[in-house]
Symmetry: C2
Subunit: 200 residues, 2 copies
């Protein structure tokens, strides 16, 4: 099968450059993700502006953010921490869409890809160039897809009632209690030095 030369409506080379610019390097997971998004978009057809659900926090969310209108911050992409290499694009009204996944059985035909995915190859024995070549060669043939109805995680998150924390004086969602989570001891920072927070 010849190597696919366009992905998500863009030339392959541009896709790779876009990935490197945003993600920091041509990560194999994001490159595979571009093939997955491309396939899911083709399944959905051009008329639907789809929402996205992605089943891992690693790499794949960036492919969705780069090649669909869905981003983490605009809420159209939901991320599950399942560590499964799969995504679903779906019509937010009909809740019908397509799930696409990296099909382990199919990757066996591409040992570099299989070994990378199953974390069987030490990094030094599988240079990025070689792995990317295997991915481009595999293309869609490493993927499977199925039509699905989305039953959870759709819809907008409700914005919560905002109040002023009695501890830090910052705005926070009242549902957290009389203090924000940071003032309840869940914070991830300590102030450096003796000084109070600086004002501008």
């Amino acid at each position: 099968m010849p190597i696919q030369t366009t992905l998500c409506g863009r030339p392959l080379q541009g896709v790779l450059e876009t990935i490197e610019r945003f993600h920091g390097w041509k990560a194999p997971g994001v490159v595979i993700g571009a093939f997955m998004v491309d396939l899911a978009q083709e399944c959905m057809g051009p008329a639907v502006e789809a929402d996205a659900i992605v089943e891992t926090r690693h790499c794949l969310p960036d492919a969705i953010q780069l090649f669909t209108p869905c981003t983490f911050g605009n809420g159209w992409m939901k991320v599950l921490n399942w560590d499964k290499f799969a995504l679903t694009l779906y019509d937010k009204k009909a809740l019908e869409g397509f799930r696409v996944w990296l099909d382990l059985a199919k990757t066996r035909k591409f040992p570099n890809l299989y070994n990378w995915y199953m974390r069987l190859a030490p990094k030094q024995s599988l240079p990025l160039d070689v792995l990317l070549e295997s991915i481009l060669e595999a293309g869609r043939s490493m993927l499977s897809f199925a039509p699905v109805t989305v039953t959870r995680y759709f819809g907008k998150e409700k914005k919560l009632e905002i109040g002023v924390c009695n501890g830090c004086g910052e705005a926070y969602p009242c549902s957290q209690g009389t203090l924000c989570l940071a003032c309840q001891g869940e914070g991830y920072y300590s102030f450096r030095g003796e000084r109070a927070p600086e004002s501008l």
Copy 2:
């Protein structure tokens, strides 16, 4: 105070266009986020390639993804679901950095901004243009910052051991049990029609 004409090393107009292209619209939260990132970067200085922690899932993560090298998918940005409008950039080795937040007390000087943030203004009474003007006028004067040491959520997530799920045959982290979370009933989809997943 004159309106700041460059943010994160780019002309303001380019920043607004970049936000619209990625996020879908010039969301006030992302525009404020650009000022926050700009301030945090100035505090950190140009020599440090910082990691990021952001304290809300709304809007702000996109400002970090657009104006720093940190993305959700590359793991350099961690997102807390605290609904607080704050972020920290920090040196991943020294764990020292700066937390920047939208300072509620300071926003009182800009009633549109305050009312939007506290969700006191119905959308139809506060057009986007008017709100954006208030944000650009406020600029850094709506923010506070403090030097912090990061005590949690830093570092790379450990990649888990991968196995093959006995239910769906897909790769999954073995720590989830003998079945993946979807096969345990936590899935977000049902297959449409009688057909098994399609192969390519």
